[in-house]
């Protein structure tokens, strides 16, 4: 039986003459390529071959979108040949003419990474943040005059050859305020190591919000390298990994340990109170009073904000505390205070752990 429609063919060489190409790196793990083609078609069913060689293309992701004029052309079927690197679209056309089509597919071995550079001012209360994107192309494909879409509205038109990497600066914000805080986190120490002298990790804390001159877009996860200007000389002062921060989220950057503040924790007192015994003389219930002392000395030349997080028992009552504290939850409390240069600060608090069971 002879088909009633004419068969036409547009060979691949015509398809390579793409009008435009977009490399969409919004989703860095699955870059999407959009090729714009103007395809001449004849009236009837037109088989359009698409094949590839030497590129890492995700075959299942390939699709054809007919853009204009869509009422004249219709994608009837897609035929996958036994050749793994080829497929054929059968397009029905009610007249001879040109069709604008977009071939969309995912390409493997293209990567986009986000890194940040942070320049800290002399007073150490503001950051200049620069986001850079690094692109790796090992896909096997060259992109000439391609539109590179880098997320959050950043677009650049560039040549990008296979094997070539590129680095772009895409987002800069000046004078981002931050809070610098040294943290003693008692949760990270065992009972035995808590009393040892320890160096204190220091964090820059900020939020991805307008208050911090940010908050216009999410911050992608990536490495941040910090530099500090000193008499117009920049010094690299460390790096950390920023986690993805949506608008409104907080960002905490670890910048090293404070070596000028020496902190010693000691348990100054521990005694039982309100002991209740049973008829056999065994203890049924009692309270345990503890006095915890932190001795903090600042040998440095700058005021340090120190946060102390202390793990607590399940049921407790504070009897006295030399400094204000905040209850994080029933098992953790937090003190925060400033220590002037060359000074010593004593934090002492007494609490009762209530209703302990058993004992002798």
């Amino acid at each position: 039986m002879v088909p009633s429609v004419l068969l036409a063919q547009v060979n691949f060489s015509a398809l390579r003459e793409r009008e435009d190409i977009l490399v969409n790196l919004d989703e860095s793990s699955r870059p999407m390529i959009v090729e714009k083609h103007v395809i001449p078609l004849q009236k009837g069913i037109n088989p359009v071959n698409f094949s590839w060689q030497g590129v890492n293309l995700d075959r299942d992701s390939i699709r054809l979108n007919i853009s204009e004029p869509s009422e004249s052309f219709e994608l009837i079927s897609t035929t996958y040949s036994s050749d793994q690197n080829k497929l054929t679209w059968n397009i029905s056309s009610d007249k001879s003419g040109q069709m604008v089509g977009y071939i969309i597919y995912h390409l493997k071995n293209i990567r986009r990474e986000v890194t940040y550079n942070g320049l800290v001012n002399e007073d150490e209360d503001q950051l200049k943040i620069r986001e850079e994107q690094v692109l790796f192309n090992n896909s096997g494909q060259d992109f000439n005059n391609a539109m590179l879409k880098l997320g959050y509205g950043n677009k650049l038109r560039r040549d990008w050859q296979n094997g070539e990497s590129k680095r772009f600066s895409v987002y800069r914000v000046r004078e981002v305020p931050f809070k610098k805080v040294a943290v003693y986190d008692g949760r990270k120490f065992s009972i035995n190591t808590r009393r040892k002298e320890t160096e204190l990790p220091v964090y820059y804390e900020l939020a991805n919000s307008p208050k911090y001159r940010l908050g216009t877009r999410p911050l992608s996860g990536g490495k941040i390298r910090l530099y500090q200007g000193e008499n117009k000389r920049e010094t690299f002062i460390g790096e950390d990994q920023i986690q993805y921060a949506p608008v409104g989220d907080t960002v905490s950057i670890y910048v090293g340990d404070n070596r000028n503040v020496k902190l010693k924790r000691s348990l100054k007192n521990k005694r039982r109170l309100n002991v209740r015994r049973n008829d056999d003389g065994e203890i049924e219930l009692y309270d345990l009073e503890r006095a915890v002392l932190f001795n903090v000395e600042n040998f440095g030349g700058e005021t340090v904000t120190l946060r102390i997080i202390e793990p607590m028992p399940e049921e407790w009552e504070m009897d006295s505390a030399s400094h204000d504290f905040r209850k994080i939850n029933n098992r953790e409390i937090e003190f925060e205070f400033k220590i002037s240069p060359g000074s010593e600060e004593i934090l002492l608090f007494e609490y009762r752990e209530k209703n302990r069971r058993g004992g002798r």
Partner: protein
Amino acid sequence: MMKMINKVCLFVILFFALTLPLDARVDLSLPARLDSVELTVYEAADLTYVRESRSLTLAKGINRLYFDWNAAEVDPTSVQLRVVGSEDGIIKKEISYPAGTNSVAIWELEAKKSTAIKVESAYFMTGLDWRAIYRGRLNAAENELDLRGEIEIANNSKLQFKNTKINLLMGQVNLLDELSAVIRNWEEKRRRGTPARRNQVGSDRSKMMYSARAMMAPEEEPAAKVETSQRAEYQLLSVSGSHNLRPGTRKKINFVRDKFESKNIYRVGQNGPADKVVRYFSFKNEPADGKEAVALPAGKIYLSRQTKDGEYLRLGENRMKFTSLGEKAEIPLGVAEDVRVKKSIMNRERLNYSFDAENRVDGWLERVDLETEVNNFRRLPAEVEVYQRLSAPAWEILRSSHPYEKVDHNRIKTKLNLNPRQNTTAYQLIEYRHGTRRD
């Protein structure tokens, strides 16, 4: 103009055959003049931050600055370029890393007109490190320390640095990966598009640096003025003058020569066995002659003492921790043989028993007479600190022959100052409350 033997070069590509692949290009390049080099060598990592200042003239239009670090181990992700001064009429476009090589970066700058500019390029490299070594001499009375500190800088890279300003960074900066791992990872990503396994900081590479270095005799240099910039997390030592660092060599720079008041402290029972006396050598980082102090980086200290006949006797060596300005340094010198402490329980008495309803003992008091005999066999005075752990949670010191200090809930410290060759004995009467007597 400074010069390096191996290539870390910046060129302005004036004519660049863009359409040809990199290995077949025809180009004409002019080297940019190197005006100055400044190194910041990090203490706790195989990391050096290099900053170079260069002069060049941009042509109108697109200029490609070609940066090549053949033979050096440079982190490509760290390479930065900054135009010094006004950037008017200059648009920084991007950095490209061409295919087929892992040691080239190309900056693209667009200039609205031909203009002479200064640029500062900066990058991280491996191969340089430094350490501090101290030699301390005590006077015969052991109350004054003459401390000399040297900094030894080793250049294990293949680069030669001439007339270079050197900064040393004290402190452990946070690094997510060792620099050599970052470089390998970059090459792997460019080759395959997938990251290599991460190699965390602290692997053996940095530790191997000293054993693997070329053991040429270090070049001694006269004392350099060292300026310290004090930050809480790091201190920057800026060595005065310009220095030459040849590949495979070490250089020593004297940076501290000061006198400090010092003393010996003999401790027993603080850490380790209760009957061993450990000698600590201590001094406060405040020079006795009123000179301006510098923070002392961590390093090995060799201690000796002047004898009666003017010779020096080796006392010992140990590692000294980083010491801030005004902070007290304490260096353990091992078990002391010439100061002895003997603790004895001279009497133990249990009393005030209480009984429960079935006449079983449920509480009592215990009184312990503790005698601590201290012998100073030295010809010098000795400050002795005796730590005593209390064996039960409820206790009270009823009597003490010497003042004592509560260290924490179950330890006290008694301080004794002994004259030369003096023996003394401290007594303490301790009462423990057991059972219901604790209530």
